[in-house]
Each structure stands twice: as structure tokens, then as C-alpha cells.
């Protein structure tokens, strides 16, 4: 158990920027270094974690912890990954808070705002690209994205309601595409 906690603390504190860099470290520690999971098990858990609400990597950490050491493993893995990393994040925020009102920090913020905005937009494009279906169904999928964009941009509609309606619609109208002959199903 101690080794499990140590592995997750290393994952949480050594990966900078989240996403892929965290995922690669999880694979390195859990699969390659300790052999707690096979590559196949890891890939399957990663795929399932993509269906989770909130932070997918927390779902992945929870599922891996459960497989290795039951509910204690869940707590050890999630707390190990999140708590030290959250401490670093809060400490960085505190440090930035000391200089946030300086003219130079305000100037930096005027450049960081469009940078984070652009990154958010790119992530939106990547999410849409990865979730969309192929063939004519892509038009329906694109319409969902455009309508959600328009509702928030022009009508300041409720984001929660938009997601809920789209999910409900999805259960009936956005199901998995039928595999075509000659092309493997995704």
C-alpha cells in the first residue's frame, strides 16, 4: 500500500500541465515499473475513464486503485495523485496573489487571458473532433456543437441545461455509428 501511495504522489507531482503528461506517467509507474496492470487492462480502464463525469484522470486513478487494493486503494490513489498536486497548485496561487496587483503582473494577465482562451477553444475542437461520427451523421454532431455554442454566446442560456438536453438527445439520436464494411469500428 505504501508503494501504491508513493507511486501516485510521484505521478501527481511530476506531471506538469496535466492531460497526456499525467497519463504517460501513470502508465510508466502502474504498468511498466510495478506491473500492477497489463497494458491491455490499462487501455481498457483508460477508455472507461473517458466516460466519467469530472476529471477523467481521477476516475482512472480510482479504478486502478480499486483493482490493486480495493476501496483503500481508491482512496490512496486519488488522494496520492490529488492532494500534493493541489497543495502545489494552491501554493503557486498564493505566490501569484502576492504580485497579482503589480502593473507587470496585470500586463502578463492581459497576455495570459487570450492564451488560456485559445487553449480552451482548441480543446473544444479536439473534443468535438474525437466525439464526432463519420459520414452524414457528422452534420447532426456539428449542429449540436454549434447550437450549444450559440445558446451560451448569444442567449447566456444555462450550461447545465444544454448538457442535460444534449445527453438526453444523445441516448436516442447520437448513438454509435454502424460499422461499415471494410472499416473497423472505432
Amino acid at each position: 500500500m505504501r508503494e501504491l501511495v508513493r507511486a501516485w504522489i510521484a505521478i501527481g507531482t511530476q506531471s506538469v500541465g496535466g492531460g497526456t503528461s499525467t497519463l504517460l506517467l501513470i502508465r510508466r509507474y502502474i504498468v511498466e515499473r510495478h506491473g500492477w496492470l497489463s497494458h491491455r487492462e490499462f487501455t481498457e480502464m483508460w477508455a472507461l475513464s473517458q466516460l466519467s463525469p469530472g476529471i477523467h484522470l481521477v476516475a482512472l486513478a480510482g479504478m486502478i486503485g480499486q483493482r490493486i487494493a480495493g476501496w483503500r486503494g481508491v482512496i490512496a490513489s486519488v488522494a496520492g495523485m490529488m492532494v500534493p498536486a493541489a497543495f502545489v497548485t494552491a501554493a503557486m496561487t498564493a505566490a501569484y496573489g502576492l504580485i497579482a496587483n503589480e502593473p507587470l503582473a496585470r500586463a502578463a494577465l492581459s497576455g495570459m487571458a487570450p492564451a488560456t482562451g485559445g487553449m480552451t477553444l482548441a480543446l473544444a475542437l479536439i473534443m468535438a473532433r474525437d466525439a464526432r461520427r463519420h459520414g452524414p451523421a457528422v452534420i447532426v454532431d456539428a449542429l449540436v456543437v454549434i447550437i450549444a455554442f450559440a445558446i451560451l454566446t448569444f442567449a447566456s442560456g444555462s450550461s447545465v441545461l444544454v448538457i442535460a438536453v444534449a445527453a438526453l438527445l444523445g441516448a436516442f439520436a447520437l448513438r454509435r455509428e454502424r460499422p461499415e464494411s471494410g472499416r473497423a469500428e472505432e
Partner: protein, 172 residues
């Protein structure tokens, strides 16, 4: 209801209804910025620090929690963002078959596509925060950030630091 409990419930709800660490951004912005509890400047700082800090990038919510409520705000944010994804632990054990049905794939696809649209709207408004006074170089930073992030070859921290440096040079 105490402020802490209210903050916890808002972050818990927004994390539970969004997909991915950044997916809750439009929801949180609506719940906390539109109501005056946080500012857009704080959200930008949180997003930037989340990209520069260690751990999953969903930890930007912890940075925002700290800015709203100090260390207790940060602790609340850790708890509120850690709980919703863990629903997958019993769900994969008990309902794995349901998770692999076409209907569930459709639910996730619908929620993901809608989240993408909401995030695109949020990203646009972060780039054009200055409204008509948004400078050409800010639009340029936004465009370059989109291209670099979409390509995925450059570390996100570099994009944030690059934006900050250009801001220091041109935004004074």
C-alpha cells in the same frame, strides 16, 4: 448555508455534470463569475496556474477555490472535484455492460459535443474579454494558442508563459 458549503455544492454539481477537467469551466463561470463570487481575471489566473502546476489540469478549480476562500477554499475544491469521477468505480463493477451500450455511448457523445460548444463559447469570450478594445496582439496570441494546442506538440505551460511574456511587453 455557509459560504464553504455553498461553494462545495456548486463545484460538486459543476464537476458532476461536466466531462473532463476543463469541461466544467462554462458551468463554473456561469455559477461563480456571473454571480459576482469570482472574477474573470481570477478564472484566467486559475487556468494559467492549472497549466503550469503539477497534476491533472482539472486542478485549475483548486486554484480558483484558493482565490475565493483561501486554503479552505482549495480543500473544498479538491474534495468537490475528486468525488464525482469516482462514481465510475462502482459503475464499472456493477454496470459495465450498460456503459458499453449504444445508448450510453450516445449520452456521452451528446454531452461531449455540447461541452465542446460551450467551451468554444467560453474560450472565445476569454480571448475577446476586452470587447472592442481587444488588441490585435491579443487576438494573435489567441490564434497561435489555438494552433499550438490543437497540434499538441508544445507543452501547454509554454503557451501560457509565452502569452504572459508578450503581455508584459505589449500590455503595459
Amino acid at each position: 448555508m455557509t459560504h464553504e458549503l455553498a461553494l462545495f455544492l456548486v463545484l460538486l454539481k459543476d464537476s458532476a455534470l461536466a466531462l473532463g477537467g476543463l469541461g466544467s469551466l462554462p458551468l463554473i463561470r456561469q455559477d461563480l463569475v456571473a454571480t459576482g463570487i469570482a472574477t474573470d481575471a481570477q478564472v484566467v489566473q486559475a487556468l494559467a496556474i492549472g497549466r503550469l502546476s503539477t497534476g491533472p489540469n482539472g486542478l485549475w478549480i483548486v486554484s480558483l477555490g484558493y482565490q475565493i476562500g483561501g486554503w479552505s477554499g482549495a480543500a473544498i475544491a479538491v474534495l468537490a472535484t475528486s468525488l464525482p469521477p469516482l462514481v465510475m468505480v462502482p459503475a464499472t463493477a456493477a454496470g459495465r455492460r450498460f456503459l458499453l451500450t449504444p445508448a450510453f455511448a450516445g449520452i456521452v457523445r451528446g454531452a461531449t459535443l455540447a461541452t465542446a460548444g460551450l467551451l468554444a463559447s467560453t474560450g472565445t469570450s476569454l480571448i475577446a474579454q476586452g470587447g472592442v478594445t481587444t488588441a490585435w496582439w491579443q487576438l494573435a496570441i489567441g490564434a497561435v494558442a489555438i494552433a499550438l494546442t490543437y497540434q499538441g506538440r508544445i507543452h501547454p505551460g509554454v503557451v501560457v508563459v509565452g502569452g504572459a511574456l508578450i503581455g508584459m511587453l505589449l500590455g503595459r
